[in-house]
């Protein structure tokens, strides 16, 4: 079985400051990892994904994440946030059958002007 822990439920950060949203996973099989963003009253949009290869993954809107197998982590980073980045962010994991996604409880990112 797989599970995801998002360590911070809320992260306030000033505009143009860097941010890191933390995600740890547990799995007994190979994993594929994802970050999704959800704006108010909307569905989930994929930011980035790790399937294999380079452990540093770049996504949309300037976000990137690093897969660390030894620490079972997949933290999301952005060097300079904008007001428009204010949203809920979800980390998700799926195993090598890839059919069921397990989501964390989400991190609410608030960018302060």
């Amino acid at each position: 079985a797989q599970s995801v822990t998002q360590l911070d439920s809320q992260v306030p950060v000033f505009e143009e400051a860097p941010v890191e949203l933390r995600c740890n996973y547990s799995s007994s099989v190979s994993v594929y990892l994802f970050w999704y963003v959800q704006y108010p009253n909307q569905g989930l949009q994929l930011l980035l994904k790790y399937l294999s290869g380079s452990t540093l993954v770049k996504g949309i809107n300037g976000f990137e994440a690093e897969f660390n197998k030894s620490q079972t982590s997949f933290h999301l980073r952005k060097p300079s946030v904008h007001i428009s980045d204010t949203a809920e962010y979800f980390c998700a994991v799926t195993g090598n059958t890839g059919n069921q996604f397990y989501f964390g409880t989400g991190t609410s990112l608030t960018v302060i002007p």
Binding site: T94, T97, N99, G104, G106
Partner: protein
């Protein structure tokens, strides 16, 4: 290229009633998954349909059932509604890739309120 669409957008039902939610997958996708997202929580997997069959099911009671049609669209049915069924129901479509179902595209969701 149309993305995942869901209907209706909002729905209000009374306890004990039944509800049907609908989903059309992204063009070219053949697999549909349903998730329940309670307020302040992450999405929880309900079940997944592929080739008109339920492939996998999460920890949800039999009151939750589904169907996939030959055109890959899908329905989620919930019987005997409880107050706790109030949530955002998300549909996600995907396509079998080289390592499995690599990515799920989500629709905007249906907000169900049970009173």
């Amino acid at each position: 290229d149309a993305g995942v669409t869901q209907s209706p957008t909002h729905l209000i039902k009374t306890r004990g009633q039944q509800v049907t939610l609908r989903c059309s997958p992204k063009s070219g996708h053949d697999t549909v998954s349903w998730y329940q997202q309670a307020l302040g929580q992450g999405p929880q997997f309900i079940f997944q349909y592929y080739e008109e069959e339920e492939r996998q099911r999460g920890n949800f009671p039999d009151r939750f059932s589904g169907h996939q049609f030959p055109n890959y669209s899908s329905e989620l049915n919930v019987n005997a509604l409880l107050l706790g069924d109030s949530a955002l129901y998300l549909c996600a479509s995907s396509l079998l890739g080289t390592v499995g179902w690599e990515e799920q595209y989500f629709g905007p969701g249906t907000r169900l309120t049970v009173t």
